[in-house]
């Protein structure tokens, strides 16, 4: 038997923080690729500390629903899971290329994977997010794309992850312009319009869940709204640009695919689950989009 654990931060204060984790876990559950699927959290339950014992499977794939390699993925999660043999060198990563490490905990084999945020498949999720927020499956021509992250202040790898995906998307040549922007360092998201010539700019924050940063700070900093509580238009006019603000990329249904890719890289036997998730989430994105369009600007 094999199990999947999706390890996320969660929140003591915000009931919405776990929602994307639940949604992706359910998408994976519905593929039937794993005998058991669990969400696990730092701030909610089941806690990282208690999750392994809830499994009957001997092979466990742990995928951190985090954007970058850093404090949580390198210290907190391994410690709390009791991965006593863990050492960050096991990932042999320069900051964006963690793959997996196979360890033991509580009598089980634990395949501890790198975070979703630095997997190559994440690039596609960012693009999918741009497609869904513009409701245009071919979005790109004549359009700029900004990938937004924290700066290096909190974690140097977080900026690396943002730049990594921005570079990859730029190299594909699909969008006229692609920029990596940051909240607490140059180039700053506040000045988003300075960095683009295109009239239409899609802004995708590389965050796993919507919260204070993506729903309050960034929209206000970019000038989408004076007061986040009043919401904003999608697209919103800012200094003669149209800003298509996507909200956290982590809420995109296709994230479930990245989770599966991580587990598959580490050896999980998931057959054609990835294709099924691609199809299922494309349908979901369509349906979601019709829903969110009606709500935009509420």
């Amino acid at each position: 038997m094999q199990a999947l654990v999706i390890a996320a931060h969660g929140s003591h204060l915000n009931p919405g923080a776990a929602r994307p984790t639940y949604a992706h876990a359910d998408t994976v559950r519905d593929t039937g690729a794993f005998d058991e699927v669990r969400e696990a959290f730092w701030k909610e339950e089941p806690h990282f500390r208690e999750v392994i014992r809830t499994l009957e499977s001997d092979e466990v794939y742990v995928v951190p629903l985090f954007i970058s390699e850093g404090y949580f993925t390198e210290q907190v999660i391994p410690r709390e899971l009791r991965l006593s043999e863990w050492d960050p060198d096991r990932w042999d990563s320069e900051g964006t290329d963690a793959d997996w490490a196979t360890l033991e905990a509580e009598g089980k084999t634990i395949h501890y994977c790198g975070p979703v945020g630095t997997h190559d498949a994440m690039t596609d999720v960012i693009v999918r997010r741009a497609e869904s927020v513009t409701d245009d499956p071919d979005v790109g021509k004549g359009v700029g794309l900004a990938v937004v992250g924290h700066g290096t202040e909190r974690n140097e790898n977080s900026a690396k992850a943002v730049e990594y995906h921005a570079d990859r998307i730029r190299n594909r040549g699909r969008f006229d312009e692609v920029e990596a922007l940051f909240m607490d360092e140059e180039p700053e998201v506040d000045d988003v319009t300075d960095y683009f010539e295109s009239d239409d700019v899609v802004v995708v924050p590389l965050f796993v869940a919507d919260g204070y940063h993506t729903q309050e700070d960034i929209p206000e900093d970019m000038g989408l709204t004076e007061d986040y509580r009043e919401g904003w238009e999608v697209p919103a006019e800012v200094e003669e640009h149209r800003i298509w603000y996507a909200g956290a990329v982590g809420t995109e249904a296709l994230m479930a695919e990245v989770i599966l890719e991580r587990a598959a890289d580490a050896g999980a036997d998931i057959e054609n689950a990835i294709d099924r998730v691609k199809r299922a989430t494309a349908e979901m994105a369509d349906a979601d989009d019709r829903g969110s369009r009606a709500e935009a600007g509420d």
Binding site: L13, E45, H47
Partner: protein, 377 residues
């Protein structure tokens, strides 16, 4: 009850060379015929026909075996829990908090199952009843909804939907602690399978079944306060500085049954018990949870400040009123105190009056201090 299929399956199983051993029933095939043992009798040298006939006469034992055979999961928490639900014998020791009724042998258990066997797990009520063919049926609901008709409750089929039910309390406030005694009533899982039942319980109260099982097996890995605190890093690095007596206050504040239904098994360390009741529930708490860790950080910072003596002028009534306000907040009663209940110290008008008179009024801001009391030393 129709035991025919169970009897057939059992005969087939022992013919395959296995010994069947379940809740007082033991059957095996040998060169001299079958051996059958029940609490009431022992037979040897039975022909297949005799075995069938005897088993059919004790059909409850046969269907009981068949059910538990299909549940499977020897040694798992899931199996132990499902057996606990119907008061079947469970390996290990009854947990300390439990007022566990005696396990029932098959005939008594079947009588009780006909009526339905109720067990409480925190605020969950689990009822096991017998289906026609000897299978079990389950019903999972809030303890407050005992006896309610299924039609009067919101019905759920998917265990994962329990997550939605656990997210908010009755006032719509977020519940960050799943074992807080604030689970909303009004719903039912009317016919989950055994697997779905355990899975739903796992969504309501994560890991409680597994830790309960470990405890029964004598294998609960308790991490006491000081070990857990010393393990922390980052912003929680400071919590191991919390003074010894503050850990008692913290456990009294957070972990008693009025706040959390887990039974606290962690102490200050293995030799230094905490002076607050741990609780009476069936499932243990094996280490301070993330909520306690987060709160401990605030207290560690508060406790790093020195105490001073303050000179404050208050009437006796005002002094008592402050106590009433603290009690009302600590017990979460402020919402209940009505607008015109001016006899209550924690009434809003009373508190505003006290603030106007003694705390520098509305504009004193959040800093407190300024308008209230003078430092003596």
């Amino acid at each position: 009850m129709n035991a025919e299929r169970a009897v057939e399956a059992l005969v087939e199983r022992v013919d395959g060379g296995e010994t069947v051993d379940c809740d007082g029933l033991s059957v095996e095939a040998g060169p001299e015929g079958y051996r059958l043992e029940l609490p009431e009798l022992e037979r040897t040298g039975l022909s297949t026909e005799e075995l069938r006939r005897t088993l059919s006469a004790f059909g409850e034992y046969a269907t009981n075996w068949r059910y538990w055979d299909r549940v499977g999961g020897a040694g798992t928490a899931r199996r132990a829990f499902l057996r606990w639900c119907e008061r079947a014998p469970v390996p290990g020791e009854a947990t300390p908090g439990e007022s566990d009724p005696e396990p029932l042998a098959v005939p008594d258990r079947y009588d009780a199952l006909a009526e339905g066997i109720d067990r409480e797990w925190g605020q969950l009520l689990l009822t096991t009843t017998l289906a026609e063919n000897g299978d079990r049926r389950y019903d999972l609901r809030h303890v407050e909804d005992a006896g309610a008709a299924v039609e009067d409750l919101d019905t759920y089929d998917e265990p994962r939907e329990a997550r939605e039910l656990t997210t908010f309390d009755e006032d719509g406030r977020y519940r960050p602690l799943k074992t807080a005694p604030t689970l909303v009533p009004g719903w039912v899982f009317p016919s989950p399978s055994a697997t779905e039942l355990v899975s739903a319980v796992g969504f309501f109260y994560p890991a409680t079944v597994e830790n309960w099982h470990r405890e029964r097996e004598g294998e609960l890995d308790v991490d006491h306060w000081i070990d857990t605190a010393e393990r922390q890093t980052g912003i929680y690095d400071v919590i191991d500085e919390l003074p010894r007596e503050a850990v008692d206050w913290m456990a009294e504040a957070c972990c008693v049954d009025s706040q959390c239904l887990r039974r606290r098994e962690w102490e200050y360390d293995s030799e230094d018990p905490i002076d607050a009741p741990g609780g009476e529930g069936p499932f243990p708490c094996r280490e301070p949870c993330s909520l306690v860790i987060a709160a401990a950080r605030s207290w560690a910072i508060d406790e790093s400040e020195e105490s001073h003596t303050w000179e404050v002028e208050l009437t006796r009534g005002e002094r008592n009123q402050i106590e009433e306000i603290v009690d009302a907040v600590a017990e979460g009663r402020t919402e209940e105190i009505r607008e015109a209940d001016v006899g209550e110290g924690a009434n809003r008008y009373r508190a505003r009056y006290l603030r106007a008179k003694r705390f520098g009024g509305e504009d004193d801001g959040d800093e407190g201090g300024e308008g209230f009391g003078d430092l003596v030393e």
